[in-house]
């Protein structure tokens, strides 16, 4: 068996179409929107603001607190029960860890920067889309960051390494499937999120992490462009 052509006709190292925006949530300090294929993520940043409960304050620097949530109608199958699940809690946790290495909160002792990520519609890759949206939102909130964080999944479908698996590929039945969400600091190649689901040889993993670099650079460029465009739009919007 061999996976000759991707189910949706993409190149093996090609992501689904991406759309990104900044400043989509008016009452937030910063916000981002990231759509990859049929997966859509919104992120809003509130803060730095006063940290409650106080027991979680850090007198040395501000705390980054992320919350990932799937909207009840965002799954391809049954309705997702509202409220936190074990899955959403874990994703919130790894999202925090994925973003922290670039974020500098030393100016905000005892305060918190809240990041809320909401997925209205998903087709695999939702944690990565959430991280991409959150990164835009943090930059839009004026938080100091040495770089953006770009994230996408890479993996193996049957005998081929592929970038940005969708549900159909994750459910591929012709052979083994491995799905590896990766987040990276694009300027240095440092990896800030790495999870793996499925069987893969260590050589393949090495090659997969190499393969995903270029798409991640491209994603970072799209994120940066979204931020710049949100400022260009303001004048245009006003002239109407």
């Amino acid at each position: 068996m061999s996976y000759k052509k991707r189910l949706d006709g993409r190149g093996f190292d090609e992501t689904r179409p991406i759309e990104a925006k900044a400043g989509v949530i008016h009452k937030a300090n910063g916000s981002g929107y990231f759509k990859i294929g049929n997966t859509v993520a919104y992120a809003a940043v509130y803060g730095p603001r006063e940290m409650f409960p106080r027991s979680q304050q850090n007198p040395k620097k501000g705390v980054l607190r992320c919350n990932y949530n799937m909207m009840p109608f965002s799954g391809a199958g049954d309705r997702v029960r509202p409220g936190p699940s074990r899955r959403s809690k874990e994703i919130s946790y790894v999202t925090e860890k994925a973003l922290l290495p670039v974020v500098d909160l030393s100016d905000y002792p005892n305060a918190v920067v809240d990041v809320f990520i909401e997925l209205p519609q998903t087709d695999a890759g939702s944690r990565c889309a959430g991280i991409c949206a959150a990164s835009i939102a943090l930059a839009d909130a004026g938080i100091r960051m040495r770089d953006m964080i770009a994230a996408v999944s890479v993996g193996k479908v049957d005998d081929k390494l592929v970038v940005d698996l969708d549900y159909a590929e994750e459910a591929y039945e012709g052979g083994d499937v491995a799905d590896i969400p990766v987040a990276m600091v694009p300027s240095t190649g440092e990896i800030t999120l790495l999870q793996g689901d499925g069987l893969i040889k260590k050589e393949d993993l090495k090659n997969a992490l190499e393969l995903v670099k270029k798409p991640l650079q491209k994603i970072a460029e799209i994120q940066r462009k979204a931020l710049i465009e949100s400022y260009n739009l303001e004048l245009k919007g006003d002239k109407k």
Binding site: I25, A28, Y42, N69, F73, P82, Q121
Partner: protein, 256 residues
Amino acid sequence: MNETFKNHVYQALNKGLRLDGRKKEDFREITIETGVISTAEGSARVKCGDTEVIAGIKLSLGTPYSDTPNDGVLSTNTELLPLSNPDFEGGPPRIDAIEVARVIDRAIREGKAIDTKKLCVEKGEKVWMVNMDVLPINMDGNLIDVGALACIAALKNTKFPEVVDGKVDYKHLSKKSLPVNALPIEITVVKIKDNFIVDPTQTEEKILDSRLTVGVLEDETICALQKGGDQPLTQKDVDFMVDLAIKKSKELRKLL
């Protein structure tokens, strides 16, 4: 809320103006898009000024309640997403979110928006359950009216999924629409001192004395009511508010 600030709002209202420049009976600009969520069987996004709501409908097969074995089951849920406003906190829905969901639900249920008899697949055994989730992305007031509008637009947009061997196949939607019978519109009229306004912003909601939400059907029949706020209403107030709600409901209905 600061008293001198409230007085400032009253002064403007006495001149017929609101802080954002609107007249008392003006809505903010409304846009409705439907079919915005590919994973839902029906969906809509409604923007009203800086308030933006997504409503998504999920259909599933389940057992009917024993006292209504022939009827499908409707349920409405709202969460005040902390993403949408700095005043909202995470955690299970609090009473304000529950009220919004229940008032939206009331208009849809009592206005017989959905013919629940047509949702029966097998009497007493299997019926369609209609789950309506109404979530704000941006929140600047008037969540009930905007949420109800989104919910109705989403219901109108809903298609049944295919059923294969008694199981729902969410990948394939049929061409069959949800049996939508009526389109209730909810209008909340807010009383601030002696002024009546519609489509309040969050700031206006914070200083309101009382409010009345009226669910209105096409023939002007009232299908739902909810009085809120700390101050009482006179019967004259109610008459005026109901008339205003009916008038505004006609404008919103045209957008559907």
